[in-house]
Symmetry: C2
Subunit: 123 residues, 2 copies
DNA sequence: GATCTGTGTAAGATAGTGCTTACATAGTCG
DNA sequence: CGACTATGTAAGCACTATCTTACACAGATC
């Protein structure tokens, strides 16, 4: 998840993600969208995105086609939702679990880091 | 937004955010949660979080109280929602705007970087 | 097979991050 | 005031990130 968030923190990489979000594009095609930067630089960004699971690669003859991989953002989205939900919501959840917030503040911080899927609200 | 995402990409800083999410804590109090690291290191993390707008600071006598600032994550959340929403949803939005996707792929990638608020679905 | 095209990788320069120790500063309390 | 407490800042160091140029290599094409 560190890797994912760090990957997404770069504006060039976010722009690449938007380019490949709907359909796949060849590496060179992607590179032409960034005339201010050399092709190898773009290639390295693509590698970072692929390593963090944000895009998938498919060889096509000579070329390598990149496409957006939705699941790559799942953990990051889960973190944001966890942070975003308000105190009342989380208190209610805690109450349903018969947890007592004061006792579990640290524990929840711990457990929340590796479970919990995103509430799907837009797809 | 780069700054925000980069701030959140660090696991120590995410842990700090969870600590101050519900109520404010003094810097020293926060530092005690990270025995593996010196107090100045934590102080520097707090500075990064404050600079990126993810926490707010309030002097209290001798101490400095930190608390979670929800709006700090807004742009980051908006980006995730933009990426997360599926092709059909975005096509529908484009249709309502009378945009034609093929023509506007690059344009949307451009404009999407600085508008659009998050659909609030958990608070 | 020779060559062109598309693409990744290596090496190196430069800048940035994240820690540590040592120090500075501001408020509190006797 | 003087000492104690809470905290930020400075300097330095190791490590990492992000570029560039030069090169390697696989697949297409003649």
């Amino acid at each position: 998840m560190d890797e994912t968030l760090r990957a997404v923190a770069d504006p060039t990489r976010r722009a690449i993600l938007r380019l490949v979000r709907d359909g796949e594009l060849a590496a060179g095609e992607i590179a032409t969208h960034f005339p201010s930067m050399t092709r190898p630089a773009v290639s390295q960004h693509l590698r970072v995105l692929a390593d963090s699971g944000l895009v998938e690669v498919r060889p096509d003859g000579n070329r390598r086609m990149y496409r957006w991989h939705r699941e790559g953002l799942r953990d990051a989205a889960a973190f944001l939702d966890e942070m975003w939900s308000d105190r009342l919501t989380r208190l209610k959840i805690a109450a349903e679990r018969e947890d007592w917030p004061e006792r579990t503040r640290a524990e929840r911080a711990e457990q929340a880091s590796h479970g919990q899927q995103r509430k799907d609200c837009s797809s």
